[in-house]
């Protein structure tokens, strides 16, 4: 028997038979492009002319002196087109769709960043596009819903289950098994059945390749630590992949601590030790689930991290202790967001601010001349409503109230 796509005991392809043929097709297409060096060149050219690759690595001088060290370097995926690392994976898969000859793409989205990226790719490459998004996330990430629709995508609010990211994935899988002849499922993170974890990491590895060159040329040495937020894990795998062979570099994944460990209102599968091994959504990994194997409700201020599972590749690195996992609470994340806005003039996505919060917590224990890299996976414009609410901004509230009156007049 052929079991492929395993990372230690994690991964695999646990899928209904109907999807076997289309996953086979995807495996074949992906295997071909990996062997074809002209494909990566085509991909890099597209990303440097359509998107903003390479994204800069910014030395955050004010933060560095605020904490008295370490020296903070921020990898600016917020400056990638559509405002997050998501487009790296999406454009790669978009080129694969051309090779497979399909004309429709579907995707799940939590924060809406992956949805916006997919809608953007579909507009650029000429595919029809449907985005599945949990009803709860539709409400909390409304600006991204607006943009997906303006880009020509149909956004379907998912009203089943917990009405968040996992439910959007289930619904996308159902659509795919119905329309697989014409449709490619652009899964947004390094989860799901093989080959998605490998394929998504492959396209996101562009972050780590750039970051390694940039830190060597700017700081003159490798960093002591790298921090990345971890929902499904694609931005973390992207940046970490550039440093996996460097044993001196410590890799730190920061999960969503929500309201904290003791409240059970969080989305930390690994750091809090609440996850257990299971099989769902096509793959085996650590899930937040009960004794029966029913998935639990998760919580995070950041919709993009509010997810039950984690990349099987990260689960394997966790077991091998190649990556250390921490969690940052909603409260820490909002404080980190405020600090980086004021000190560096950078508005981080709430997801990405988890990486900042993790680094800020550990900064006092580091030396002044230590070098660290934080992967800022996306920008925070989309979070304007959530951040304004969290900060209790009175002028914003009155603006919204006035706007609402205008609309209802």
């Amino acid at each position: 028997m052929d079991k492929s796509g395993y990372y230690g005991q994690f991964g695999g392809a646990f899928i209904p038979e109907t999807l076997n043929a289309t996953l086979w097709q995807l495996n074949t297409a992906f295997a071909e492009v990996k062997e074809d060096s002209s494909f990566w060149t085509e991909y890099e050219t597209l990303m440097s002319t359509y998107s903003c690759r390479p994204t800069p690595l910014t030395y955050a001088e004010n933060l560095s002196s605020h904490f008295g060290g370490p020296r903070f370097y921020i990898k600016r995926e917020d400056l990638n087109h559509t405002g997050a690392h998501k487009l790296n994976n999406v454009m790669g898969q978009g080129l694969l769709v051309q090779r497979m000859g399909k004309n429709r793409v579907i995707a799940e989205t939590g924060a809406g960043q992956h949805g916006v990226a997919t809608a953007t790719m579909a507009a650029k490459l000429g595919y029809s596009c449907t985005i599945y998004m949990g009803e709860v996330d539709v409400a909390r990430q409304r600006p991204n819903v607006f943009w997906m629709q303006q880009l020509g995508a149909t956004v379907v609010p998912v009203k089943d289950g917990a009405r968040i990211l996992k439910d959007a994935i289930n619904e996308a899988l159902r659509d795919w098994s119905t329309n697989m002849d014409t449709t490619h499922y652009v899964l947004g993170t390094a989860c799901g059945p093989h080959p998605y974890p490998e394929m998504v990491s492959y396209f996101q590895s562009i972050i780590g390749m750039e970051a390694r060159n940039q830190i060597l040329s700017q700081a003159g040495r490798l960093p002591k630590r790298i921090y990345a937020c971890v929902g499904g894990g694609s931005n973390a795998l992207g940046v970490f992949s550039g440093f996996l062979e460097d044993s001196s570099v410590e890799l730190v994944g920061v999960e969503a601590g929500g309201e904290g460990l003791e409240t059970n209102k969080h989305a930390s599968r690994l750091a809090y030790g609440h996850g257990s091994v299971g099989v769902a959504q096509g793959y085996k990994t650590y899930f937040l689930q009960d004794e029966d194997g029913q998935m639990l409700e998760t919580h995070s201020v950041a919709a993009g991290l509010d997810y039950i599972g984690v990349s099987p590749i990260l689960a394997a690195y966790h077991e091998e202790k190649k990556i250390r996992f921490e969690a940052a609470t909603d409260k820490e994340v909002l404080e980190a967001t405020r600090l980086v806005m004021r000190m560096e003039g950078i508005i981080p996505a709430l997801e990405s601010a988890h990486a900042l919060a993790g680094a800020f917590r550990e900064a006092p224990q580091m030396n002044a001349d230590d070098v660290i890299v934080i992967n800022l996976s996306g920008r925070g414009d989309k979070d304007i409503f959530t951040i304004a609410d969290a900060l209790g901004d009175a002028t914003w509230k009155s603006f919204i109230a006035t706007k609402a009156e205008e609309y209802s007049a």
């Binding site: 089943d160 119905t178 769902a280 029966d292 194997g293």
Partner: protein
């Protein structure tokens, strides 16, 4: 084993009917009534679905029933107790239908040992393909439970050959792409699919997904041994109650 039962039954009637229900929906008591009603209506086999929070192969009707039972607090233990009760009371084979995580979390060996004690005869788990299911199949078989595998219209000829080597009891043939509950065209294409299935295996064939009327069951006579009626029964249950489900199954004969 299920295979013998099916061939034996086939001598009495030209097509068997397998009913599907979600354990604990709308409540444990009512689902017990439902089994009683469906068995009295003359079905030949029955699938008991253990609810799962992420049922990716199910469409909206069965999905909602899964969610309702889970939010009512139904546990997997309750499903085993329920199975025990119905297999004691009724003389048709019962199968578990669920998703792999339910089996995995309980432990494959324990799941099947307990299923055997509960009188269960087969298991339909749509998200465990044979590639991933070596220990799953071994645990099922060791406990005298048939692991049922799925054949789909999208499967390639090579895939049919491969799948044909596994499974026991019967093959579950899905009539079309997609998930449970949507409409199926009973067409030449479906004929051809069933012919491909027949070539791939000596085992009986069950045809499911979208079977909802007597005409459709007529169509399947001579082409499949078993017609599976799932979402349609659940729709009737939701709109007209348990008695109407009994009428539905009687009308299919």
């Amino acid at each position: 084993m299920l295979e013998d039962y099916i061939w034996r039954k086939k001598k009495e009637r030209d097509i068997l009917i397998m009913a599907h229900m979600v354990v604990g929906y709308p409540s444990i008591e009512e689902s017990l009534d439902l089994v009683r009603t469906i068995v009295a209506a003359g079905v030949d086999l029955m699938e008991l679905q253990i609810p799962f929070s992420e049922p990716i192969a199910d469409g909206p009707v069965i999905l909602k029933a899964n969610q309702t039972t889970l939010s009512s607090g139904l546990r997997v233990d309750d499903c085993f107790r329920f199975a025990h009760q119905v297999t004691n009371e009724f003389d048709i084979p019962f199968l578990f239908m669920t998703y792999y995580n339910i089996v995995f979390k309980r432990g494959e060996e324990r799941f099947f040992a307990e299923a055997r004690e509960a009188g269960i005869r087969g298991a339909i788990v749509p998200d465990i393909p044979p590639e991933e299911g070596e220990s799953y199949m071994a645990a099922a078989t060791a406990n005298g439970i048939d692991p049922i595998f799925v054949l789909a219209p999208t499967s390639s000829p090579q895939r049919f050959d491969y799948l044909g080597r596994f499974g026991s009891g019967f093959f579950y043939c899905v009539a079309r792409r997609g998930v449970t509950g949507a409409e199926t065209h009973f067409s030449v294409e479906l004929d051809e699919f069933l012919q491909r299935c027949r070539k791939a295996t000596q085992l009986p064939l069950a045809l499911g997904f979208g079977v909802s009327s007597k005409e459709e069951i007529e169509f399947l006579r001579g082409k499949a041994e078993i017609a599976v009626v799932g979402s349609q029964a659940l729709r009737v249950l939701n709109s007209d109650g348990i008695g109407a489900v009994g009428s539905l199954f009687r009308s299919l004969r």
